[in-house]
Symmetry: C2
Amino acid sequence: MPTYKLTYFPVKALAEPIRFLLSYLEENFEDYRFEREQWPNIKPNMPFGKVPVLEIDGKVVHQSTAISRYLGKQAKLVGKDDWEALQIDIAVDTLHDFRQVVANYWYEPDEALKSKKKEEALAGPVPFYLEKFDQLAKENNGYLANGALSWGDLYFVAVSDYLIRMLGSDYFEKYENLRRLRDNVVNIPSIKKWIETRPESEL
Amino acid sequence: MPTYKLTYFPVKALAEPIRFLLSYLEENFEDYRFEREQWPNIKPNMPFGKVPVLEIDGKVVHQSTAISRYLGKQAKLVGKDDWEALQIDIAVDTLHDFRQVVANYWYEPDEALKSKKKEEALAGPVPFYLEKFDQLAKENNGYLANGALSWGDLYFVAVSDYLIRMLGSDYFEKYENLRRLRDNVVNIPSIKKWIETRPESEL
């Protein structure tokens, strides 16, 4: 069994999909969470100055989505052929487009501009994306692609606490097919166990 | 042979990697370029309201990176195993992080803020990324990953005109390993032919 060490801030956000996938694989992993004040010392040692970073048998890899796809292959959660793998990739990249819409106001330092940007996002793009994702989950029987569980579903649910915190409202309450998607993921025994035992964090 | 129809603005930008890969595969494709004024009519018919969109035998797929990875698989440009595929995925997602740094000022509507953001980006993050990418190309013998040509190299070179236009300077002049990378891609006969015959566009 490979050894895994994950390095990230003490939050879920972009590391949580990796934690979900390692849990799904029933792999032990070191879940190293550094405090914000340590970041200036850690950042220069990270490839491209970013986290999450995963060490697999001491070899360092980065990029949340790329790592999740890699682990998804180990878990046989990448669809049955290249076409199905493409549908999963499309869903995850579109989730990141949605995340950009939300992050665009969330990380705006100017408070007045932040309010304005948030208002604009919530008035149009946010419900647009959520409705489209809900439709996708409806068409795919409670999953994002191919009518079956994939690493994309784990990704979507793993980052949802982060997105919901930035949005200020829980989209699983409003969108029933996204709720089905969430339930399909959180009721997987290995994921359920991870969620019950993971450290508390707001994001 | 499948039929392909690509739909995008009349520019290179995020569609050009798909055009590179279809050219590399020596596939004929309809390269449908709509004018900006047509966009409001086209947008509602696009999945998630975005382009590029590719129709493969009439089936619609979207997301530039996801499509390029899929075509990269057809072209056998995805590395020899899952680990190599991961290295390529990391490079491409990091390229998108870099693109976000540049797009963050380029698409800023407020002119004063745009100047300020551009100055900050050019003072730090932009050379940081370019030096890291140059180092990566050096370590990989003029490629981004695994010391061999991949769809990631085609992606990097295909979007470079767009990035260079937004940056206002040609990084291939300054970074010799990125220049090697570019030359490795543009000297592939099928890519060379595409570049010589493609429509002119600024981005």
